[in-house]
């Protein structure tokens, strides 16, 4: 299932609704949908807030116990894997709340890959269901 959308304030809301419909139709396990729903919303909101682009394409697939969502956008190149991880050792009162969305994506996804080519960014999220083998490595470029 592939969807093309303009990047605007309703992008995350609209595409997460599409994700929910896809998950119901394809019987995606609840845990996998929960994780993908959050990760997709975070990335799409990042596009709206920071990318400067105006087009996004999202492809959803669920097969062989792998829930895979590919997001393409024509905004500024941005690899979320390059973002410094949140330092959880800092005590709560002093811990910065920036980077929380990317921290959530890293925690919720089994694989995240990114590439930039000819003006388009491609980010791929993979969530394995319990029946599929464990991720190795957890993240790769």
């Amino acid at each position: 299932m592939e969807i093309a959308e303009a990047i605007n304030e309703l992008l995350a809301q609209h595409l997460c609704k599409k994700l929910e419909e896809f998950a119901k139709t394809r019987s995606v396990p609840k845990d996998a949908f929960f994780s993908m729903d959050h990760a997709l919303a975070e990335l799409l909101q990042n596009l709206v807030d920071h990318s400067g682009g105006n087009q996004a394409q999202v492809e959803m697939d669920f097969s062989n116990d792998l829930f895979k969502v590919t997001i393409r956008d024509n905004g500024k190149p941005y690899n979320l894997l390059d973002h410094r991880a949140v330092d959880m050792s800092i005590p709560f009162p002093d811990r910065p709340v920036g980077g929380l969305g990317i921290h959530m994506i890293r925690k919720l996804m089994d694989e995240v890959t990114y590439q930039s080519s000819e003006g388009w960014n491609t980010t791929v999220f993979v969530k394995r269901t319990q029946a599929s083998p464990p991720p190795e490595p957890p993240f790769s470029h």
Binding site: A12, A41, E42, Q45, L100, G101, H103
Partner: protein, 103 residues
């Protein structure tokens, strides 16, 4: 649809969230918390029993106002976490700091 309802009882106030705190709802939650901050409310709670989704923007709003309330010697805590809300707050590492102890 209104994403949450606000119940007041004396100096206490409870915001009951309906289903999702996404980017748009986070903005509305911030407006609600700002309004509560201007009242004499001493203890405010965000009831997440029906909440199945919290984005990072929503967590940032809760953290921001939790800190502001604390500075003013008042309190803002989240309560009655759904399993989904519990999971998200746990993985962000903020759960122990902002959840009502006996939720």
């Amino acid at each position: 649809m209104i994403p949450f309802t606000c119940l007041t009882n004396g100096d206490n106030c409870e915001i009951v969230v309906d289903r999702r705190i996404d980017g748009e709802t986070a903005n509305q939650l911030e407006i609600e918390l700002l309004a509560i901050e201007k009242t004499s409310t001493k203890k405010a709670y965000i009831n997440l029993a029906a909440c199945t989704f919290i984005c990072s923007a929503g967590i940032r709003v809760i953290l921001q106002y939790h800190r502001r309330f604390k500075t003013a010697h008042r309190s803002l805590l989240v309560s009655r976490l759904s399993p989904e809300a519990d999971q998200i707050l746990e993985l962000t590492g903020f759960k122990d700091s902002i959840v009502e102890p006996n939720h």
